[in-house]
Amino acid sequence: MKYTLKFFNETKLLTKYVVPTLTILILLSSCRKYTQDITTHEPGTTGPVNTNYSKADTLQKILQEFTKKQIPGAAIALYSETEGWWETTAGFAKLETNQLMKPGHLQYLQSVAKTYMAVAILQLKEKGLINPDAKISEYLPEPYLHYITGANKISVRHLLNHTSGVAEYTDDINYSAYILQHPNERLSTQKLMSYLDGKKSEFEPGSKYRYRNSNYELLAIIADAITGDHAKYISENILQPLQLSKTFYRNDVHYPHYPNLVNSYLDRFSNSSLENVSIMQQTNVANMIGDDGMIAAPRDAVGFIKGLFTGQLLSPASMTEMKTWVKDKNGNDIYGMGLYTLKFDGVTAYGHGGSGIGAGCGLYYVPSQGVYIFFATNAGTLVDGPVVDKVMELKDKIMSVVVN
Protein backbone atom coordinates (compact mmCIF):
# COMPACT_ATOMS: atom_id res chain seq x y z
CA MET A 1 0.00 0.00 0.00
CA LYS A 2 2.85 2.34 0.99
CA TYR A 3 4.66 1.59 -2.26
CA THR A 4 1.50 2.01 -4.28
CA LEU A 5 0.93 5.44 -2.76
CA LYS A 6 4.56 6.44 -3.34
CA PHE A 7 4.38 5.24 -6.90
CA PHE A 8 1.13 7.13 -7.35
CA ASN A 9 2.73 10.34 -6.04
CA GLU A 10 5.80 10.00 -8.18
CA THR A 11 3.72 9.15 -11.22
CA LYS A 12 1.59 12.21 -10.49
CA LEU A 13 4.74 14.32 -10.35
CA LEU A 14 5.87 12.82 -13.61
CA THR A 15 2.55 13.42 -15.35
CA LYS A 16 1.99 16.85 -13.86
CA TYR A 17 5.37 18.43 -14.59
CA VAL A 18 7.82 16.28 -16.50
CA VAL A 19 5.60 14.93 -19.29
CA PRO A 20 3.98 18.31 -20.13
CA THR A 21 7.39 20.01 -20.19
CA LEU A 22 8.81 17.38 -22.50
CA THR A 23 5.73 17.49 -24.70
CA ILE A 24 5.93 21.27 -25.03
CA LEU A 25 9.61 21.09 -25.91
CA ILE A 26 9.05 18.43 -28.55
CA LEU A 27 6.04 20.25 -29.99
CA LEU A 28 7.96 23.51 -30.13
CA SER A 29 10.80 21.87 -31.96
CA SER A 30 8.43 20.15 -34.40
CA CYS A 31 6.51 23.35 -35.15
CA ARG A 32 9.50 24.89 -36.85
CA LYS A 33 9.00 25.13 -40.59
CA TYR A 34 12.34 24.47 -42.13
CA THR A 35 13.22 25.04 -45.75
CA GLN A 36 16.41 25.50 -47.69
CA ASP A 37 15.06 26.61 -51.06
CA ILE A 38 15.48 30.12 -52.42
CA THR A 39 13.37 32.09 -54.86
CA THR A 40 14.84 31.92 -58.34
CA HIS A 41 13.49 34.46 -60.80
CA GLU A 42 13.27 34.12 -64.55
CA PRO A 43 16.46 35.72 -65.89
CA GLY A 44 16.54 38.20 -68.73
CA THR A 45 17.91 37.35 -72.13
CA THR A 46 21.64 37.04 -72.68
CA GLY A 47 23.60 38.21 -75.73
CA PRO A 48 23.18 36.93 -79.29
CA VAL A 49 24.31 33.39 -80.11
CA ASN A 50 25.25 31.62 -83.30
CA THR A 51 22.20 29.41 -83.76
CA ASN A 52 24.06 27.50 -86.46
CA TYR A 53 26.92 26.46 -84.18
CA SER A 54 28.17 23.17 -85.62
CA LYS A 55 28.03 21.17 -82.36
CA ALA A 56 24.82 22.70 -81.00
CA ASP A 57 22.55 19.71 -81.56
CA THR A 58 24.98 17.19 -80.11
CA LEU A 59 25.65 19.23 -76.98
CA GLN A 60 21.96 20.02 -76.49
CA LYS A 61 21.08 16.32 -76.70
CA ILE A 62 23.75 15.43 -74.16
CA LEU A 63 22.42 17.98 -71.67
CA GLN A 64 18.84 16.81 -72.17
CA GLU A 65 19.87 13.18 -71.74
CA PHE A 66 21.71 13.78 -68.47
CA THR A 67 19.09 16.05 -66.94
CA LYS A 68 16.78 13.07 -67.21
CA LYS A 69 19.35 10.97 -65.35
CA GLN A 70 19.69 12.28 -61.80
CA ILE A 71 21.06 15.73 -62.69
CA PRO A 72 18.47 18.45 -61.96
CA GLY A 73 19.80 21.18 -64.24
CA ALA A 74 22.79 22.03 -66.40
CA ALA A 75 24.12 24.91 -68.49
CA ILE A 76 26.76 25.37 -71.15
CA ALA A 77 28.20 28.58 -72.57
CA LEU A 78 31.04 28.66 -75.06
CA TYR A 79 32.91 30.92 -77.41
CA SER A 80 34.49 29.52 -80.54
CA GLU A 81 37.08 31.68 -82.30
CA THR A 82 35.58 30.60 -85.61
CA GLU A 83 31.87 30.28 -84.79
CA GLY A 84 31.27 32.82 -82.05
CA TRP A 85 29.04 32.60 -78.97
CA TRP A 86 26.70 29.73 -78.18
CA GLU A 87 24.91 28.68 -75.02
CA THR A 88 22.22 26.29 -73.87
CA THR A 89 20.59 24.80 -70.79
CA ALA A 90 18.47 21.81 -69.82
CA GLY A 91 16.60 20.65 -66.76
CA PHE A 92 15.52 22.75 -63.84
CA ALA A 93 16.87 25.73 -61.93
CA LYS A 94 14.40 24.76 -59.17
CA LEU A 95 12.84 21.32 -58.95
CA GLU A 96 10.14 22.26 -56.43
CA THR A 97 8.47 24.62 -58.89
CA ASN A 98 9.57 22.97 -62.16
CA GLN A 99 11.36 26.19 -63.04
CA LEU A 100 13.48 25.66 -66.12
CA MET A 101 17.19 26.39 -66.18
CA LYS A 102 17.93 29.31 -68.51
CA PRO A 103 21.23 30.68 -69.89
CA GLY A 104 20.86 33.84 -67.80
CA HIS A 105 20.70 31.99 -64.50
CA LEU A 106 23.63 32.58 -62.19
CA GLN A 107 25.85 29.60 -61.37
CA TYR A 108 28.41 28.91 -58.69
CA LEU A 109 32.02 28.89 -59.95
CA GLN A 110 33.32 27.08 -56.85
CA SER A 111 37.08 26.40 -57.21
CA VAL A 112 37.23 28.13 -60.59
CA ALA A 113 37.58 31.18 -58.34
CA LYS A 114 41.19 30.07 -57.84
CA THR A 115 42.00 31.11 -61.39
CA TYR A 116 40.71 34.63 -60.68
CA MET A 117 42.73 34.71 -57.45
CA ALA A 118 45.91 33.59 -59.22
CA VAL A 119 45.43 36.30 -61.86
CA ALA A 120 45.09 38.91 -59.11
CA ILE A 121 48.34 37.75 -57.46
CA LEU A 122 50.19 37.77 -60.77
CA GLN A 123 48.91 41.27 -61.48
CA LEU A 124 50.21 42.37 -58.07
CA LYS A 125 53.55 40.82 -59.01
CA GLU A 126 53.57 42.84 -62.25
CA LYS A 127 52.96 45.97 -60.19
CA GLY A 128 55.87 45.11 -57.91
CA LEU A 129 53.63 44.65 -54.88
CA ILE A 130 54.40 41.00 -54.24
CA ASN A 131 57.31 38.68 -54.92
CA PRO A 132 56.17 35.13 -55.72
CA ASP A 133 59.40 33.74 -54.30
CA ALA A 134 59.19 35.61 -51.01
CA LYS A 135 58.09 33.62 -47.98
CA ILE A 136 54.51 34.04 -46.91
CA SER A 137 55.65 35.01 -43.43
CA GLU A 138 56.57 38.38 -45.02
CA TYR A 139 52.97 39.05 -46.00
CA LEU A 140 50.70 37.01 -43.77
CA PRO A 141 49.26 38.99 -40.86
CA GLU A 142 48.41 37.62 -37.44
CA PRO A 143 46.58 35.56 -36.37
CA TYR A 144 46.93 33.67 -39.66
CA LEU A 145 50.71 33.56 -39.49
CA HIS A 146 50.40 31.80 -36.15
CA TYR A 147 48.11 29.13 -37.66
CA ILE A 148 50.53 28.07 -40.42
CA THR A 149 53.32 25.69 -39.49
CA GLY A 150 56.56 26.56 -41.29
CA ALA A 151 55.28 29.79 -42.86
CA ASN A 152 58.88 31.00 -43.09
CA LYS A 153 59.66 28.15 -45.50
CA ILE A 154 56.60 28.50 -47.74
CA SER A 155 56.71 30.90 -50.68
CA VAL A 156 53.80 32.62 -52.43
CA ARG A 157 54.62 30.44 -55.44
CA HIS A 158 54.18 27.32 -53.32
CA LEU A 159 50.66 28.48 -52.49
CA LEU A 160 49.90 29.30 -56.12
CA ASN A 161 50.90 25.87 -57.44
CA HIS A 162 49.81 23.78 -54.44
CA THR A 163 53.28 22.68 -53.38
CA SER A 164 53.19 24.36 -49.97
CA GLY A 165 52.48 21.32 -47.80
CA VAL A 166 49.87 23.33 -45.87
CA ALA A 167 47.12 21.09 -44.50
CA GLU A 168 43.51 21.27 -45.76
CA TYR A 169 41.12 23.15 -43.52
CA THR A 170 38.11 21.41 -45.07
CA ASP A 171 39.53 17.99 -44.09
CA ASP A 172 39.08 18.72 -40.40
CA ILE A 173 36.14 16.65 -39.13
CA ASN A 174 35.23 19.56 -36.85
CA TYR A 175 34.73 21.69 -39.96
CA SER A 176 32.50 19.13 -41.71
CA ALA A 177 30.44 18.56 -38.57
CA TYR A 178 30.07 22.29 -37.97
CA ILE A 179 28.93 22.94 -41.54
CA LEU A 180 26.31 20.17 -41.30
CA GLN A 181 25.00 21.35 -37.92
CA HIS A 182 25.15 25.08 -38.77
CA PRO A 183 24.49 25.15 -42.52
CA ASN A 184 23.18 28.72 -42.56
CA GLU A 185 25.86 30.31 -40.42
CA ARG A 186 28.38 32.70 -41.94
CA LEU A 187 31.89 31.80 -40.81
CA SER A 188 34.72 34.31 -40.72
CA THR A 189 37.98 33.72 -42.56
CA GLN A 190 39.66 33.56 -39.19
CA LYS A 191 37.33 30.79 -38.07
CA LEU A 192 38.04 28.80 -41.26
CA MET A 193 41.79 29.25 -40.95
CA SER A 194 41.72 28.37 -37.27
CA TYR A 195 41.09 24.76 -38.36
CA LEU A 196 44.75 24.83 -39.50
CA ASP A 197 46.00 25.89 -36.10
CA GLY A 198 48.48 23.33 -34.81
CA LYS A 199 48.35 21.15 -37.92
CA LYS A 200 51.71 19.92 -39.17
CA SER A 201 52.96 20.55 -42.71
CA GLU A 202 52.07 17.63 -44.94
CA PHE A 203 55.47 17.72 -46.65
CA GLU A 204 58.51 19.92 -47.21
CA PRO A 205 57.41 22.98 -49.24
CA GLY A 206 58.19 22.55 -52.94
CA SER A 207 58.79 18.81 -52.67
CA LYS A 208 55.46 17.65 -54.08
CA TYR A 209 52.07 18.74 -55.39
CA ARG A 210 48.93 18.40 -53.29
CA TYR A 211 45.79 20.40 -54.12
CA ARG A 212 44.63 22.30 -51.04
CA ASN A 213 41.91 24.95 -50.73
CA SER A 214 43.88 26.39 -47.82
CA ASN A 215 46.55 27.66 -50.24
CA TYR A 216 44.13 29.98 -52.02
CA GLU A 217 42.39 31.10 -48.85
CA LEU A 218 45.86 32.21 -47.67
CA LEU A 219 46.52 33.99 -50.98
CA ALA A 220 43.31 36.00 -50.51
CA ILE A 221 44.42 36.96 -46.99
CA ILE A 222 47.80 38.05 -48.36
CA ALA A 223 46.10 40.03 -51.14
CA ASP A 224 43.92 41.69 -48.49
CA ALA A 225 47.05 42.65 -46.59
CA ILE A 226 48.59 44.18 -49.73
CA THR A 227 45.57 45.85 -51.34
CA GLY A 228 43.29 46.39 -48.36
CA ASP A 229 40.48 44.43 -50.03
CA HIS A 230 41.25 41.64 -52.49
CA ALA A 231 37.63 41.37 -53.64
CA LYS A 232 37.56 45.07 -54.54
CA TYR A 233 40.88 44.61 -56.33
CA ILE A 234 39.49 41.69 -58.37
CA SER A 235 36.39 43.68 -59.19
CA GLU A 236 38.34 46.73 -60.37
CA ASN A 237 41.20 44.95 -62.13
CA ILE A 238 39.60 41.81 -63.57
CA LEU A 239 35.80 42.04 -63.71
CA GLN A 240 35.39 45.68 -64.75
CA PRO A 241 38.07 45.72 -67.49
CA LEU A 242 36.44 42.64 -69.04
CA GLN A 243 32.95 44.12 -68.51
CA LEU A 244 31.82 41.08 -66.56
CA SER A 245 28.78 42.72 -65.01
CA LYS A 246 27.16 39.40 -64.11
CA THR A 247 30.04 38.11 -62.01
CA PHE A 248 29.68 38.58 -58.28
CA TYR A 249 32.38 38.26 -55.67
CA ARG A 250 31.75 40.34 -52.57
CA ASN A 251 31.51 43.36 -54.85
CA ASP A 252 28.05 44.62 -53.95
CA VAL A 253 25.74 44.80 -50.97
CA HIS A 254 23.53 41.98 -52.24
CA TYR A 255 26.27 39.34 -52.26
CA PRO A 256 25.52 36.39 -52.23
CA HIS A 257 21.77 36.90 -52.66
CA TYR A 258 20.77 37.35 -56.30
CA PRO A 259 17.34 36.78 -57.81
CA ASN A 260 18.66 34.78 -60.78
CA LEU A 261 20.73 32.37 -58.70
CA VAL A 262 19.83 28.70 -59.19
CA ASN A 263 18.66 26.43 -56.39
CA SER A 264 21.22 23.83 -55.31
CA TYR A 265 20.82 20.12 -54.58
CA LEU A 266 22.84 17.67 -52.51
CA ASP A 267 22.84 13.89 -52.52
CA ARG A 268 23.39 13.90 -48.75
CA PHE A 269 23.49 10.13 -48.25
CA SER A 270 25.00 9.18 -51.63
CA ASN A 271 21.79 7.39 -52.59
CA SER A 272 20.48 9.53 -55.47
CA SER A 273 18.00 11.46 -53.30
CA LEU A 274 18.47 15.14 -53.96
CA GLU A 275 17.91 17.53 -51.10
CA ASN A 276 17.55 21.27 -51.64
CA VAL A 277 20.49 22.89 -49.86
CA SER A 278 20.33 26.31 -51.49
CA ILE A 279 20.78 28.43 -48.36
CA MET A 280 23.53 26.14 -47.10
CA GLN A 281 25.28 26.32 -50.49
CA GLN A 282 24.92 30.09 -50.70
CA THR A 283 26.26 30.52 -47.18
CA ASN A 284 29.12 28.09 -47.64
CA VAL A 285 30.25 29.77 -50.85
CA ALA A 286 30.07 33.19 -49.21
CA ASN A 287 32.21 31.94 -46.33
CA MET A 288 35.17 31.25 -48.58
CA ILE A 289 37.65 33.68 -50.06
CA GLY A 290 40.26 33.06 -52.74
CA ASP A 291 39.53 29.36 -53.05
CA ASP A 292 35.83 29.84 -53.84
CA GLY A 293 33.10 32.45 -53.58
CA MET A 294 32.42 33.48 -57.20
CA ILE A 295 28.92 33.55 -58.67
CA ALA A 296 28.51 34.28 -62.38
CA ALA A 297 26.36 33.93 -65.45
CA PRO A 298 27.86 31.24 -67.73
CA ARG A 299 28.71 33.72 -70.47
CA ASP A 300 30.62 35.88 -67.97
CA ALA A 301 32.73 32.89 -66.92
CA VAL A 302 33.63 32.29 -70.56
CA GLY A 303 34.39 36.01 -70.92
CA PHE A 304 36.91 35.71 -68.10
CA ILE A 305 38.90 32.78 -69.51
CA LYS A 306 38.75 34.29 -72.99
CA GLY A 307 40.09 37.56 -71.58
CA LEU A 308 42.85 35.69 -69.77
CA PHE A 309 44.04 33.69 -72.78
CA THR A 310 43.79 36.62 -75.18
CA GLY A 311 46.22 38.62 -73.06
CA GLN A 312 43.78 41.15 -71.60
CA LEU A 313 44.70 40.48 -67.98
CA LEU A 314 48.34 39.44 -67.75
CA SER A 315 51.62 40.06 -69.50
CA PRO A 316 53.06 37.26 -71.67
CA ALA A 317 55.71 36.66 -68.98
CA SER A 318 53.05 36.20 -66.31
CA MET A 319 51.05 33.90 -68.59
CA THR A 320 54.18 31.79 -69.06
CA GLU A 321 54.59 31.68 -65.30
CA MET A 322 50.92 30.77 -64.86
CA LYS A 323 51.40 27.86 -67.27
CA THR A 324 54.58 26.55 -65.67
CA TRP A 325 53.29 23.17 -64.58
CA VAL A 326 54.18 21.19 -61.52
CA LYS A 327 53.92 17.44 -61.80
CA ASP A 328 51.60 15.00 -60.06
CA LYS A 329 52.84 11.82 -58.34
CA ASN A 330 52.92 10.02 -61.69
CA GLY A 331 55.24 12.62 -63.17
CA ASN A 332 52.61 14.23 -65.39
CA ASP A 333 52.14 17.99 -65.76
CA ILE A 334 49.15 18.91 -63.61
CA TYR A 335 48.91 22.43 -62.20
CA GLY A 336 50.31 25.86 -62.90
CA MET A 337 49.02 28.89 -61.00
CA GLY A 338 45.26 28.63 -60.65
CA LEU A 339 45.21 26.52 -63.79
CA TYR A 340 45.14 22.82 -64.57
CA THR A 341 46.50 21.34 -67.73
CA LEU A 342 44.30 18.43 -68.76
CA LYS A 343 43.76 16.14 -71.69
CA PHE A 344 40.31 15.24 -72.99
CA ASP A 345 40.50 12.47 -75.60
CA GLY A 346 44.21 13.25 -75.80
CA VAL A 347 43.60 16.94 -76.55
CA THR A 348 45.08 19.55 -74.21
CA ALA A 349 42.86 21.97 -72.33
CA TYR A 350 43.68 24.59 -69.68
CA GLY A 351 41.31 25.67 -66.97
CA HIS A 352 39.80 24.68 -63.68
CA GLY A 353 36.97 22.62 -62.30
CA GLY A 354 34.78 23.45 -59.33
CA SER A 355 32.98 21.30 -56.78
CA GLY A 356 30.56 22.40 -54.10
CA ILE A 357 27.94 21.17 -51.69
CA GLY A 358 25.22 21.99 -54.19
CA ALA A 359 26.96 22.71 -57.48
CA GLY A 360 29.69 21.69 -59.89
CA CYS A 361 31.29 23.27 -62.94
CA GLY A 362 34.25 23.49 -65.30
CA LEU A 363 35.85 26.37 -67.20
CA TYR A 364 38.31 25.42 -69.94
CA TYR A 365 40.18 26.72 -72.94
CA VAL A 366 40.97 24.26 -75.72
CA PRO A 367 43.76 25.93 -77.74
CA SER A 368 43.68 23.46 -80.64
CA GLN A 369 39.98 24.18 -81.24
CA GLY A 370 40.03 27.84 -80.28
CA VAL A 371 37.14 27.15 -77.88
CA TYR A 372 36.46 28.59 -74.43
CA ILE A 373 33.77 26.68 -72.56
CA PHE A 374 31.95 26.80 -69.24
CA PHE A 375 29.52 24.16 -68.03
CA ALA A 376 27.70 23.98 -64.72
CA THR A 377 25.17 21.93 -62.83
CA ASN A 378 23.13 22.62 -59.70
CA ALA A 379 23.82 19.10 -58.40
CA GLY A 380 26.39 19.00 -55.60
CA THR A 381 29.66 17.39 -56.60
CA LEU A 382 31.52 17.45 -53.31
CA VAL A 383 29.96 14.30 -51.88
CA ASP A 384 30.79 11.28 -54.03
CA GLY A 385 28.01 8.99 -55.14
CA PRO A 386 25.88 8.07 -58.14
CA VAL A 387 24.88 11.67 -58.90
CA VAL A 388 28.51 12.80 -58.99
CA ASP A 389 29.33 9.85 -61.23
CA LYS A 390 26.71 11.14 -63.67
CA VAL A 391 28.10 14.67 -63.51
CA MET A 392 31.60 13.36 -64.28
CA GLU A 393 30.20 11.37 -67.19
CA LEU A 394 28.41 14.50 -68.43
CA LYS A 395 31.64 16.53 -68.23
CA ASP A 396 33.58 13.90 -70.20
CA LYS A 397 30.88 13.75 -72.89
CA ILE A 398 30.72 17.53 -73.26
CA MET A 399 34.49 17.86 -73.48
CA SER A 400 34.74 14.95 -75.88
CA VAL A 401 32.40 16.75 -78.28
CA VAL A 402 34.22 20.06 -77.85
CA VAL A 403 37.73 18.74 -78.48
CA ASN A 404 36.89 16.53 -81.47
Binding site: S29, L95, A177, R268, S270
Partner: protein, 202 residues
Protein backbone atom coordinates in the same frame (compact mmCIF):
# COMPACT_ATOMS: atom_id res chain seq x y z
CA UNK B 1 27.17 -8.09 -42.53
CA UNK B 2 24.22 -6.39 -40.83
CA UNK B 3 22.41 -9.72 -40.37
CA UNK B 4 25.48 -11.34 -38.79
CA UNK B 5 25.87 -8.43 -36.45
CA UNK B 6 22.22 -8.50 -35.41
CA UNK B 7 22.43 -12.26 -34.81
CA UNK B 8 25.54 -11.84 -32.65
CA UNK B 9 23.92 -9.04 -30.67
CA UNK B 10 20.75 -11.12 -30.14
CA UNK B 11 22.78 -14.10 -28.89
CA UNK B 12 24.79 -11.91 -26.56
CA UNK B 13 21.69 -10.32 -25.11
CA UNK B 14 19.85 -13.61 -24.67
CA UNK B 15 22.87 -15.13 -22.88
CA UNK B 16 23.15 -12.05 -20.73
CA UNK B 17 19.44 -12.17 -19.90
CA UNK B 18 19.63 -15.80 -18.72
CA UNK B 19 22.73 -15.07 -16.74
CA UNK B 20 21.06 -12.06 -15.17
CA UNK B 21 18.09 -14.14 -14.07
CA UNK B 22 20.34 -16.75 -12.47
CA UNK B 23 22.63 -14.21 -10.81
CA UNK B 24 19.71 -12.25 -9.52
CA UNK B 25 18.46 -15.28 -7.60
CA UNK B 26 21.92 -16.22 -6.32
CA UNK B 27 22.74 -12.79 -4.99
CA UNK B 28 19.32 -11.87 -3.77
CA UNK B 29 20.42 -11.10 -0.24
CA UNK B 30 23.16 -8.61 -1.10
CA UNK B 31 21.67 -6.93 -4.14
CA UNK B 32 21.62 -3.19 -4.63
CA UNK B 33 19.80 -3.33 -7.89
CA UNK B 34 16.60 -4.60 -9.52
CA UNK B 35 16.47 -5.60 -13.16
CA UNK B 36 14.34 -3.99 -15.82
CA UNK B 37 13.79 -0.48 -14.51
CA UNK B 38 12.17 2.00 -16.84
CA UNK B 39 14.86 4.32 -18.14
CA UNK B 40 13.42 7.59 -19.45
CA UNK B 41 14.99 10.85 -20.32
CA UNK B 42 15.28 13.90 -22.42
CA UNK B 43 18.24 14.41 -24.71
CA UNK B 44 19.90 17.05 -26.81
CA UNK B 45 21.55 16.14 -30.07
CA UNK B 46 24.15 17.89 -32.14
CA UNK B 47 26.17 16.91 -35.15
CA UNK B 48 29.61 17.41 -33.64
CA UNK B 49 32.74 15.70 -32.45
CA UNK B 50 33.05 14.95 -28.71
CA UNK B 51 32.93 17.95 -26.42
CA UNK B 52 32.84 20.45 -29.28
CA UNK B 53 29.95 22.71 -30.20
CA UNK B 54 27.95 21.30 -27.29
CA UNK B 55 25.65 24.31 -27.10
CA UNK B 56 24.14 23.46 -30.50
CA UNK B 57 22.40 20.45 -29.01
CA UNK B 58 20.09 22.38 -26.75
CA UNK B 59 17.92 23.40 -29.68
CA UNK B 60 17.64 19.77 -30.85
CA UNK B 61 15.47 18.05 -28.30
CA UNK B 62 14.74 14.35 -28.17
CA UNK B 63 13.38 11.61 -25.96
CA UNK B 64 14.74 8.24 -24.95
CA UNK B 65 13.18 5.22 -23.34
CA UNK B 66 14.84 2.02 -22.27
CA UNK B 67 15.50 -0.66 -19.75
CA UNK B 68 18.43 -2.74 -18.55
CA UNK B 69 19.41 -5.85 -16.66
CA UNK B 70 22.39 -6.68 -14.52
CA UNK B 71 24.96 -9.36 -15.28
CA UNK B 72 25.74 -9.92 -11.60
CA UNK B 73 22.75 -8.74 -9.62
CA UNK B 74 24.43 -5.46 -8.85
CA UNK B 75 24.29 -2.16 -10.65
CA UNK B 76 27.96 -2.09 -11.70
CA UNK B 77 27.66 -4.33 -14.79
CA UNK B 78 24.48 -3.98 -16.78
CA UNK B 79 23.23 -4.32 -20.31
CA UNK B 80 21.00 -1.49 -21.42
CA UNK B 81 18.50 -1.20 -24.26
CA UNK B 82 17.40 2.17 -25.56
CA UNK B 83 15.08 3.51 -28.20
CA UNK B 84 14.49 7.14 -28.94
CA UNK B 85 14.51 9.99 -31.33
CA UNK B 86 15.54 13.57 -31.65
CA UNK B 87 14.71 16.62 -33.70
CA UNK B 88 17.52 18.27 -35.60
CA UNK B 89 16.20 20.76 -38.12
CA UNK B 90 19.54 21.43 -39.81
CA UNK B 91 21.11 17.98 -39.95
CA UNK B 92 17.89 15.96 -40.07
CA UNK B 93 15.85 14.24 -37.35
CA UNK B 94 16.95 10.87 -36.05
CA UNK B 95 15.42 7.71 -34.60
CA UNK B 96 17.55 5.06 -32.99
CA UNK B 97 17.63 1.74 -31.17
CA UNK B 98 20.71 0.39 -29.51
CA UNK B 99 22.09 -1.77 -26.75
CA UNK B 100 25.05 -0.94 -24.54
CA UNK B 101 27.17 -2.73 -22.01
CA UNK B 102 27.51 -0.42 -19.06
CA UNK B 103 30.17 -0.37 -16.36
CA UNK B 104 28.78 1.63 -13.47
CA UNK B 105 31.08 1.81 -10.44
CA UNK B 106 30.03 3.57 -7.28
CA UNK B 107 32.37 6.49 -6.79
CA UNK B 108 31.12 8.08 -3.56
CA UNK B 109 28.33 6.90 -1.30
CA UNK B 110 25.31 6.61 -3.61
CA UNK B 111 26.88 8.40 -6.54
CA UNK B 112 28.03 6.40 -9.52
CA UNK B 113 29.90 6.94 -12.76
CA UNK B 114 29.11 5.18 -16.02
CA UNK B 115 31.15 4.09 -18.99
CA UNK B 116 29.10 2.55 -21.76
CA UNK B 117 29.59 1.24 -25.26
CA UNK B 118 27.40 -0.68 -27.63
CA UNK B 119 25.92 -1.07 -31.05
CA UNK B 120 22.66 -0.13 -32.72
CA UNK B 121 20.98 1.47 -35.67
CA UNK B 122 20.25 5.10 -36.43
CA UNK B 123 17.81 6.32 -39.01
CA UNK B 124 18.76 9.82 -40.12
CA UNK B 125 15.96 11.66 -41.93
CA UNK B 126 16.60 14.43 -44.43
CA UNK B 127 15.92 17.90 -42.99
CA UNK B 128 13.75 18.75 -46.01
CA UNK B 129 11.88 16.80 -48.68
CA UNK B 130 14.07 15.12 -51.27
CA UNK B 131 13.56 14.59 -54.98
CA UNK B 132 14.30 11.41 -56.86
CA UNK B 133 14.50 11.02 -60.59
CA UNK B 134 12.29 8.22 -61.94
CA UNK B 135 12.02 7.62 -65.67
CA UNK B 136 13.02 11.19 -66.40
CA UNK B 137 10.54 12.70 -63.92
CA UNK B 138 11.41 14.23 -60.56
CA UNK B 139 9.34 12.80 -57.73
CA UNK B 140 9.03 14.27 -54.23
CA UNK B 141 10.15 11.40 -51.99
CA UNK B 142 9.53 13.10 -48.63
CA UNK B 143 12.11 13.19 -45.88
CA UNK B 144 12.97 9.53 -45.91
CA UNK B 145 16.60 9.21 -45.03
CA UNK B 146 19.07 6.48 -44.40
CA UNK B 147 19.47 3.76 -41.76
CA UNK B 148 23.00 3.34 -40.55
CA UNK B 149 24.83 1.11 -38.13
CA UNK B 150 25.99 3.07 -35.16
CA UNK B 151 28.23 2.68 -32.15
CA UNK B 152 27.02 4.65 -29.11
CA UNK B 153 29.69 5.24 -26.49
CA UNK B 154 29.22 7.37 -23.44
CA UNK B 155 30.17 8.64 -20.05
CA UNK B 156 27.70 9.31 -17.27
CA UNK B 157 27.15 10.25 -13.71
CA UNK B 158 24.21 9.56 -11.43
CA UNK B 159 22.69 8.79 -8.08
CA UNK B 160 21.29 5.50 -6.87
CA UNK B 161 19.96 5.02 -3.35
CA UNK B 162 18.58 1.51 -3.35
CA UNK B 163 15.17 0.96 -1.82
CA UNK B 164 12.98 -2.07 -1.68
CA UNK B 165 10.10 -0.10 -3.10
CA UNK B 166 9.73 2.09 -6.10
CA UNK B 167 12.49 4.63 -6.43
CA UNK B 168 14.16 6.94 -8.90
CA UNK B 169 17.80 6.93 -9.88
CA UNK B 170 18.61 10.11 -11.82
CA UNK B 171 21.56 10.42 -14.16
CA UNK B 172 23.18 12.62 -16.76
CA UNK B 173 25.30 11.25 -19.55
CA UNK B 174 27.21 12.33 -22.58
CA UNK B 175 27.02 10.02 -25.55
CA UNK B 176 28.87 9.92 -28.80
CA UNK B 177 26.88 8.35 -31.63
CA UNK B 178 29.30 7.20 -34.32
CA UNK B 179 27.31 6.40 -37.47
CA UNK B 180 28.75 4.37 -40.30
CA UNK B 181 28.43 5.08 -44.05
CA UNK B 182 26.77 8.48 -43.78
CA UNK B 183 27.85 9.06 -47.38
CA UNK B 184 30.75 8.31 -49.71
CA UNK B 185 32.69 11.34 -48.47
CA UNK B 186 32.11 10.84 -44.75
CA UNK B 187 32.28 7.11 -43.92
CA UNK B 188 32.03 7.79 -40.19
CA UNK B 189 30.21 10.77 -38.69
CA UNK B 190 29.89 11.84 -35.09
CA UNK B 191 26.81 12.92 -33.22
CA UNK B 192 26.90 14.18 -29.66
CA UNK B 193 24.04 13.62 -27.25
CA UNK B 194 23.55 14.97 -23.76
CA UNK B 195 21.01 12.91 -21.84
CA UNK B 196 19.25 13.78 -18.61
CA UNK B 197 17.03 11.06 -17.26
CA UNK B 198 16.12 8.68 -14.54
CA UNK B 199 15.79 4.99 -13.95
CA UNK B 200 12.49 4.20 -12.34
CA UNK B 201 12.85 0.99 -10.37
CA UNK B 202 9.43 -0.53 -9.94
Amino acid sequence: MKRKLLFAVTCLLFTGFLQAQQTQQATFKKKNYRNFPIVAGIQFHSFSVPFKDMGAGFSNVGLMLGTEFSFNGRQNWVQGFTIGGYRNKHAGDGAFAFTQTIYRPTIYRNFFAEIKAGVGVLHNFHPVDVYKEQNGEWINAGKKGKTMLMAPVGLGFGFNSYKEGIYFSPFVSYELFLSKDYNDLLPLVPGSVIQIGTRIHL
